[in-house]
């Protein structure tokens, strides 16, 4: 019996010790004085690029080690919000335009407007800089990358249908005509237009001279005629035989449909092209990319637009005076680091002049993909839509869009609802 008691006491002590160490671990998560930094990202495809940045920095600064951690997109934001609420943000993390205003306006992020003594920021485009800004116009992240949306097409299907490949002369009419011809000739889908904002209808809205949010972000634009017309055009594409309907896309992502030879065209972000080349080696040479078709008769403007988003590297407001973190951030925005990132061919670095590195990354393949098209599109890029209430309305607008696609509400009514949802979110702040 005595022996048993002693064992019990020992076990209790051990258990308590474990709890204590567990607390100790979580407590040191935010600390970075020991030269160990964590970098939280959400894109597995970019892990190698980030790791190379970490390694390169470690080489120059042997006393700083950076651990790259990848979390899936959905989990990333759940985790980050909880971490921000409890004051345990990772040392360095990616920030997305969807969320940056929310974090910046709630004083969660360090102000990096005055990070550099020199003119480093002048090497970034206005859109890149704007993508890092809080509502107060200060910068809360160092620009990481910039992107455009491009049209991906299946060359074999175009050849079979005898249609010439998409190029910069293409308009929406060419898009629909080619789709019809391909469908008639091959029985495969033409342009696969699915319910998506950045990779879908936003581009069409801005090409037509409409907008989702007005310039000072005080009102939604779903009540603007130019927006409504573009939305009707885009949503209406699914009425054609050559376009699958939304229930199809609920089961099969357009990218999967495209690379399994079910459809001839869809819109894709430039940052995934490298992955597509690597993941579908048997498809190399059978597909290519082009600039987005333009609106033939825009309500205003020249009919050209592509949504351009950009991520940035951010850190917690607590690290405002943390030299280790700030120096690393500073280095991440340098030409050296940005060129290194571009050379991996996943994300195009935001630093101007790194485009060639990105294009050159595709030289590793026998077939030369026309990725230059993605670069050319920066001439008419539109900043990705965001405001401080975007996290509130994003999913609600998406639900409403699905109702439109599902026929539960008419297009007019649905768009009016979208408008109300955004305006209400803005009003409630």
């Amino acid at each position: 019996m005595k022996h048993l008691k002693r064992t019990a006491v020992f076990l209790m002590a051990a258990a308590m010790a474990l709890t204590v160490t567990a607390c100790g671990n979580s407590g040191s998560g935010g600390g970075s004085s020991d030269g160990k930094l964590t970098m939280q990202i959400w894109d597995t495809a970019q892990r190698d690029a980030m790791q190379s940045l970490a390694d390169a920095y470690h080489e120059e600064n042997p006393d700083v080690t950076i651990e790259v951690q990848v979390t899936s997109w959905d989990e990333y934001w759940t985790k980050l919000e909880a971490a921000a609420g409890s004051g345990n943000l990772p040392d360095i993390f990616w920030m997305h335009t969807n969320q940056i205003l929310l974090y910046a306006d709630n004083d969660m992020l360090a102000d990096v407007t005055d990070l550099y003594d020199d003119d480093t920021y002048s090497h970034y485009s206005d859109i890149s800089i704007a993508n890092t800004m809080g509502s107060d116009g200060r910068m809360y992240g160092v620009p990481k990358d910039k992107d455009t949306i491009c049209l991906v097409y299946n060359k074999e299907m175009f050849d079979q249908a005898g249609v010439s490949y998409p190029d910069e002369t293409w308009t929406w009419d060419d898009l629909t005509e080619a789709s019809q011809k391909i469908y008639d000739a091959t029985g495969k889908y033409g342009y696969m237009a699915y319910c998506d904002e950045q990779l879908g209808y936003w581009n069409f809205v801005y090409q037509n001279g409409g907008y989702i949010l007005n310039d000072d972000k005080t009102a939604a634009g779903f009540d603007q005629q130019a927006t409504i017309d573009a939305m009707k055009f885009y949503i209406g594409l699914q009425q054609n035989d050559w376009c699958p309907d939304q229930t199809y896309f609920a089961e099969t992502a357009p990218g999967d449909a495209f690379f399994s030879g079910q459809g001839a065209m869809y819109m894709e972000g430039d940052w995934t092209l490298m992955d597509k080349m690597k993941n579908y080696p048997e498809m190399q040479g059978k597909w290519d990319v082009a600039v987005l078709p333009k609106c033939p008769s825009p309500a205003s403007g020249d009919g050209r637009a592509t949504i351009s988003n950009g991520l940035c590297y951010a850190t917690s407001a607590k690290n405002q005076d943390n030299e280790t973190v700030m120096n690393f951030l500073k280095w991440l925005g340098s030409e050296e680091a940005q060129k290194l990132q571009s050379s991996y061919g996943t994300a195009i670095s935001a630093y101007e002049g790194c485009e060639d590195e990105w294009v050159a990354a595709f030289d590793q393949f026998d077939y030369k993909l026309n990725v230059q098209a993605c670069i050319d599109e920066f001439d008419y890029a539109v900043q990705s839509v965001n405001d401080a209430t975007r996290p509130v309305w994003k999913s609600k607008v998406n639900d409403e869009m699905l109702k439109i696609y599902g026929g539960q509400v008419s297009v007019d009514e649905g768009l009016k609802n979208c408008n109300d949802i955004i305006n209400q979110a803005i009003a409630e702040g």
Binding site: K5, A8, M12, A15, D74, W77, T78, E81, A84, G85, S86, L102, N106, M108, C195, Q246, T247, Y248, F249, A250, E251, T252, P391, V392, S395, K396, N398, L402, K403, Y405, G406
Partner: protein
């Protein structure tokens, strides 16, 4: 009358407390504290990063006025109706077969238990492909062209089928343990009296296994009312039929973590707890009619 404890017995009692302390502390910290927090949160208007203000019963008013919420409640109940009875009956059938004298008995037991060991995400992934309306094997075998997962009528049925499939093994093992506790002598006596197999089942097996059946039923109902992961894996948020399939817990997830509306989401949780409470109370009252504890 309560007898005063001897000093030795009291000392023993201290030890008893100490021994269960880790579990109790764990329960308090990991289960009861969050439960209380959720309850408080359900009366709050939450903002991002953990800030919240007292909001009275507004979350509940908003919830009870929301058609989406009632739809989710109905979906959850429908899911229970579709999965629990069929699941339990099939599990009982499997348990009886596994209890019989068949070859490769342990092999079969392993096979039936296998779904329990698989990761739910992997299960959902495979079933999604099987249910795929365009290329799925289920349509190919049946010769049908049903969009299982994207038709509002069939989506919940498809989810229910997967739920039953993945729960049978576990339930069957529980019931099997109940079956093996039944003494063989009952059956011998019944055979001598000339009772048929069917008669034996209803007069011996069913009454004798009813306590185990009851526990299985309660557990299965609770987990069905809390269903989330399976539907989340099977039905994407871009799927137009989501409103016709989403359970209360799925709605909770979307409100709390997608829309960032944690106060309202907490009200949904409290409602779900209430619902489970009612169902369980009804079951405990109902069990007096059919559960047999006299062995």
């Amino acid at each position: 009358m309560r007898k005063a404890l001897s000093p030795a017995a009291r000392k023993e009692q201290h030890w008893a407390w100490l021994m269960v302390a880790p579990t109790i502390i764990g329960l308090l910290v990991l289960n009861y504290y969050p439960l209380i927090q959720t309850f408080i949160l359900s009366f709050s208007k939450t903002k991002t990063f953990g800030a919240s203000t007292f909001n009275g019963i507004n979350n509940y008013i908003e919830m009870f006025q929301s058609p989406e919420f009632w739809k989710a409640t109905w979906n959850t109940i429908l899911f229970c109706i579709l999965t629990v009875p069929v699941g339990i009956i099939l599990a009982l059938l499997v348990a009886i077969l596994l209890n019989a004298k068949v070859k490769f008995k342990s092999g079969f037991r392993a096979i039936y238990f296998l779904p329990m060991v698989c990761a739910p995400a992997a299960i959902a992934m495979v079933w999604r492909w099987m249910f795929n309306g365009e290329y799925g094997i289920i349509n190919t075998v049946l010769g049908t062209k049903i969009s299982w997962l994207t038709d509002s009528k069939t989506a919940i049925v498809a989810c229910a089928i997967v739920a039953i499939w993945s729960s049978i093994g576990y339930d069957a093992v529980l019931l099997l343990s109940g079956l093996q506790n039944i003494s063989k002598s009952y059956y011998e006596a019944a055979r001598i009296d000339g009772a048929s197999r069917v008669k034996q089942f209803f007069s011996i097996t069913l009454p004798m296994i009813s306590p185990t059946l009851f526990v299985t039923l309660i557990m299965r109902l609770m987990s069905s009312l809390k269903v989330y992961d399976l539907i989340y894996m099977m039905i994407d948020q871009s799927n137009p039929v989501l409103p016709d399939v989403q359970s209360l817990m799925y709605l909770f997830y979307r409100e709390a973590f997608v829309a960032g509306n944690k106060g309202y989401a907490s009200a949904i949780v409290i409602w779900t707890i209430f619902l489970i409470g009612i169902v369980t109370v009804i079951q405990f009252i109902g069990q007096k009619k059919w559960v047999n504890y006299d062995v």
